[in-house]
Amino acid sequence: MTIFIIRRILQAAVVTLITLSVVFVVGRVVGDPVRIVIGIEAEETRVQEVRDQLGLNDPLTVQYWRFMTGALRGEMGTSFWTRTPTMPMVLERLPATIYLGVVTALLAFPLAILLGATAALKPHSWADRLINVTALGGVSIVEFWLALMLILVVAVQLGWFKTSGYGGVEYVVLPALTLAYKPIGRISQMARSAIIDELRKPYIKAARAKGLSEKQVVFTHALKNAAIPIITTTGDEVATILNGAMVVETVFGWPGVGLLTINALSRRDLPLVEATVFVVTGMIIMTNMLLDVAYTYLNPRIRFQ
């Protein structure tokens, strides 16, 4: 168990290093950062000024070292836009995104599992087909379009929720619903096939022979064992939600990390962009570690090793 945890932490460290390196390479090697920051048409004196300011006249290895050690200390430079350190700016926005993410997860997870298990209960029935089409809809829909449609119908026409802004239930429901649809689609399909796989195993026959109803068989025995493959793929959905968060936060004016990222990108504020990527990566790693804990809890074979 301890070895398992240590291994996971080491893996997380490697992923962080890779991400930082990718950010560095994309920002400083692939494109010319100065041009990114001030545009193609800028004058030569201005270019040199920015180059010095960013330390771009140093060799790449020196820059890389400076970048990485700074990142590990939690220093990702100063924003061009606000002239303040970038990390506090990003961390300030973090609670809003976590709030939105948690509401989304609370909506998506139980609903997806319920839909998946219902579909698995009677494969190829009309209920299964309906759930399948609904699930495919989730991966076929443009998130910002869904957001606009929800605003148009639910917020403007029906007036049930606010069209944009940050706050309680009346603000969070629409963005969370928009974000939840894609993961609901994918997790429910995953749950369906994982449960159907479990239903083919011998222990299910024994559970039926015990006199359990089909619902009890599916929702207790099959679901508990199917939870293991479901959890393993849920890790990728964290990325899906963060993907969507950038779009959805932009549409709903939700002051989270996603909106900040898009603003930073529009203003070509390279240090701020790098800081948001760093924080987003951190969020992904933390969530995946939490999921790993859930995974070991659900899988007695790992827990007792």
Partner: protein, 351 residues
């Protein structure tokens, strides 16, 4: 002509499903003319084609046959747990104490399953849910059928584990199936099956996956428990040596049909079907000196396309013209001894 009687009774006595199950309406378990098929894209697999047998209290009935003979599917049909689709029970009747189980409402059946008729399986380790402790899985029976509280059920589970001779039952109740050996898993299965004192215990190859000494222990345990409770046991096996000590009567199956039924002595001493004779010769015996084991030539038929006439004829040394066209019906060999062979008299003499 016992079989005809059964069929006649089946037609006249169509009992409604809500009849009192404990009421004594005939045999403990009575299976007649059971048909099960699997509908696949390759064709219809006729797994069980008209099977009849009776089980009484305190009795052990062995169902003997090679893999693919339909013996497991047959008892799954009795339990009502054939995977459907693709499996369908197309005809026949299953009566428990005179009450017809086929066509009974699912929630009614769930009350009988596990409670009145329990089942244990081959490969106990795979038939226990890997995600729950064994204690939980035994308690589940008690909580489901008896409505016991969690504490009561746990206490009773430990007692049951003691009863099937699992050492350190209190501690081991909190262990998961993968922490047990195959033999111990089968004991857990037995404890689970016996939790509610069932009237019928169906044991589907309970010892096949175990090594020989453990096999003997498990069989010993089953007969002790039978003496205690008076339950009827259906023991499914492909292994003649397993049944010799425990079975009272034997049903021999081939290609989804019953080819011979009789008491254990009749089957062992006067087998009246060439297939039974073949099975007997497969058992290594200490009292005869033979250079090699006699194995039945050929392999079981393709269940999608069963041979016409007697399904055994391609492998039978006695086969002749009649066997290729005419399906044999069970004929009386002796008291309660039937054989579905046109030439059973020759078999008796030859043996």
């Amino acid at each position: 002509m016992q079989r005809e009687e059964i069929v006649a009774m089946d037609e006249s006595n169509n009992t409604p499903s809500d009849q009192q199950i404990t009421g004594n309406g005939g045999h403990l378990l009575e299976v007649s003319d059971l048909h099960v098929e699997f509908r696949t894209s390759g064709g219809v697999v006729k797994a069980v084609n008209g099977v009849n047998y009776i089980l009484d209290e305190g009795e052990t009935l062995a169902i003997l046959g090679e893999s693919g003979s339909g013996k497991s599917v047959g008892v799954e049909a009795v339990m009502g747990i054939v995977e459907s689709p693709p499996g369908f029970v197309t005809a026949g009747s299953v009566k428990f104490r005179g009450t017809e189980l086929r066509g009974m409402e699912e929630d009614q059946l769930c009350k009988i399953r596990g409670h009145n008729i329990a089942m244990i399986f081959q490969e106990a380790q795979a038939t226990l849910d890997p995600g729950f402790t064994v204690g939980h899985q035994i308690s589940e029976m008690l909580r489901l059928h008896r409505g016991l509280s969690k504490e009561e059920a746990t206490k009773k589970s430990v007692e049951l584990m003691d009863r099937v001779q699992i050492p350190f039952a209190v501690e081991r109740a909190n262990d998961y199936p993968h922490q047990f050996s195959g033999g111990m898993c089968q004991r857990v299965m037995i404890a689970m099956a016996l939790a509610l004192d069932p009237d019928v215990l169906i044991a589907d190859e309970p010892t096949t996956a175990l090594d020989v000494t453990i096999q003997a222990q498990v069989m010993q345990l089953l007969s002790e428990l039978q003496t205690e409770t008076g339950m009827g046991i259906i023991l499914i096996t492909h292994d003649m040596s397993v049944i010799a000590d425990v079975a009272d009567r034997v049903v021999v199956m081939y290609a989804g049909r019953v080819v011979e039924t009789g008491s254990i002595h009749q089957i062992f001493d006067q087998p009246a079907h060439p297939y039974t004779v073949g099975l007997m010769n497969c058992v290594p015996r200490l009292d005869r000196k033979e250079d090699n084991l006699n194995i039945i030539p050929g392999s079981p038929p393709n269940p999608i396309n069963l041979p016409a006439g007697c399904a055994f004829h391609p492998r039978c040394s006695l086969a002749r013209e009649r066997c290729l066209s005419e399906t044999p019906v069970s004929a009386e060999v002796g008291p309660y001894h039937q054989s579905a062979c046109h030439f059973f008299e020759e078999v008796l003499v030859g043996h």
